[in-house]
């Protein structure tokens, strides 16, 4: 068992294995199920993730409230026209993240990763990285275990709840988890994976949760798209050998501390941030017929 990143790292070093191996071993012990069963269960998560990351690229999805939808498809079509600023990989990943968020807002099937509001970041980053790296299904499942291990540490020492920690706790956690997963997928060391997670958390530190009309739609979908880019660029830095100056465990503690310091208006209450802009208020009134 591990409660902190440094403990995971120590275990991985002692056994000369990857973080995902440590996470799988822990899961097998905890649930008294075989490695095969646990991997198969993760495989089912991956299947749902792949479906939700793809659906919005091909279909015009509309959210229940009508506030968002259709943007994943729009971005994918734009990408196909071949004149993007950020390049194919990043734009494809962004579109996939939007797709998951749109499917979620339209009452489609998703995997909470770690939450429904941040459900686009892990699928988008992991599927897109696998495409670039030519990684197969098993490697994607490995990456999901690495990511979950990072999530376990965040869950134990901080929070995933926007109501407690703001958007940084949801989209920040998701980006940190995804970043570590794709670092290992790309052949990076456990240390590099933790550096990537650390950098991702740092990049989004302090981000507030301010949903328009209190719905998991805006700004959530676009923050999933930017969270995916955060995950991928943080992974890229770590893979180049760049270190996070602040260690992962201290970043988790910092994220939690900053989250608790946020005023209540900026923690999922829809009483602050963009939710109370004139446009945000107007949209809320429209949606609820006030």
């Amino acid at each position: 068992m591990y409660n902190y990143g440094y403990e995971m790292l120590q275990l991985a070093k002692e056994k000369n294995v990857r973080l995902c191996d440590i996470v799988i071993e822990n899961e097998v012990k905890l649930t008294e199920q075989s490695v095969e069963v646990v991997r198969e269960k993760m495989g089912r998560n991956l299947d749902v993730m792949m479906d939700s990351a793809k659906y919005g690229l091909e279909n015009d999805v509309k959210s229940v409230s009508g506030l968002i939808g259709g943007d994943a498809k729009k971005l994918e079509e734009y990408r196909k026209n071949g004149k993007t600023l950020c390049g194919d990989v990043i734009v494809k990943a962004m579109a996939r993240a939007l797709s998951c968020s749109e499917v979620n807002a339209a009452m489609g099937r998703i995997v909470a990763a770690p939450t429904a509001g941040s459900c686009g970041i892990m699928p988008a980053a992991i599927i897109t990285a696998a495409e670039v790296l030519g990684a197969d299904r098993e490697k994607m499942i490995d990456a999901l275990f690495t990511a979950s291990g990072i999530g376990q540490i965040i869950g134990k020492n901080a929070t995933f709840a926007g109501a407690e920690g703001g958007c940084q706790a949801e989209c920040g956690a998701a980006a940190a988890m995804a970043a570590a997963g794709i670092v290992e997928m790309a052949g990076g060391t456990p240390e590099m994976a933790l550096h990537a997670a650390s950098i991702a958390l740092k990049n989004i530190l302090g981000l507030v949760c301010d949903p328009i009309a209190g719905l998991v739609e805006a700004p959530c979908a676009k923050r999933n798209s930017s969270g995916t880019v955060n995950a991928m660029t943080s992974a890229e830095l770590a893979l180049a050998g760049i270190k996070s100056i602040i260690p992962f465990d201290e970043m988790v503690e910092t994220m939690y501390r900053v989250g608790k310091a946020l005023p209540e208006e900026l923690r999922e209450t829809a009483m602050g941030g963009i939710a109370v802009t004139p446009t945000g208020i107007k949209l809320r009134k429209q949606i609820f017929g006030e």
Binding site: N45, G108, V111, A112, T115, A116, G214, L215
Partner: protein, 222 residues
């Protein structure tokens, strides 16, 4: 420190948009159905707090109905649950109300059975799809529906708790949590037990025969 399973972190697989307002609502509905039984003709949902304010935008209404119809949180029919209930001839009502000093995501679900009797179950969605049932027929209870749960309504008789727990032990089932309440000495009360393994019909039948027992409900996890 809780030792999270990776599937507490990655998952559940669910119908969006909100783990507390959609997935949790569906689980509340399903556990309530387990308590009320399946032979109902009408259901009224009394929505409190955030549930009352945002239920339409989050699909909480559809999720609650999906739950009482027995659907899982990942069932894609969830979004059509209101129509499905209508087709089944089940009368559904939503009433925005103030249930007092309760969790902001609280609902009181009142079932009207085919025989005209009513049963109400109140619970809250407390985050990440997790729930807590806190009232049955107005009696305070507290269980999550994560573990198999026995709800026994009985008179406060000497030795009855011992008899009941012995029946469970004889079936090789471990009790994880137990709570006993009563309205007064010798009066009606509730006994709630969470166990580590499935509660069979056989156990329920045996407990039903114990002196002073009024009713027994077994809820196996949803």
């Amino acid at each position: 420190m809780k030792n999270y399973s990776v599937f507490d972190i990655l998952g559940p697989i669910m119908i969006g948009p909100s783990s507390s307002h959609t997935a949790g609502a569906a689980r509340l509905g399903k556990v309530a159905r387990g308590i009320a039984g399946e032979d109902f003709k009408a259901v009224t949902f009394y929505l409190h707090g955030s549930f009352a304010k945002t239920y339409k935008g989050h699909g909480t209404d559809r999720a609650l109905v999906a739950g009482v119809l027995g659907m899982e949180t990942y069932d894609e029919r969830l979004r059509n649950a209101l129509f499905i209930a209508k087709d089944m001839g089940i009368d559904i009502k939503f009433i925005e109300t103030d249930l007092g000093d309760e969790h902001p995501n609280t609902v009181n679900i009142e079932f009207e059975k085919k025989d005209g009797s009513k049963i109400s179950v109140q619970g809250a969605s407390i985050g990440g799809g997790n729930i807590i049932i806190n009232k049955i027929q107005g009696d305070s209870v507290e269980f999550t529906g994560t573990n198999p749960t026995l709800i026994i309504k009985k008179y406060d008789l000497k030795g009855s708790i011992n008899t009941i727990t012995s029946i469970i032990a004889e079936s090789d089932i471990n009790i994880g949590m137990m709570k006993v309440t009563r309205q007064g000495k010798g009066k009606e009360g509730l006994m709630i037990l969470e166990t580590d393994s499935k509660i069979t019909d056989e156990i329920v039948e045996k407990i039903e025969k114990v002196d002073g027992v009024i009713s027994v409900r077994a809820i196996n996890p949803v």
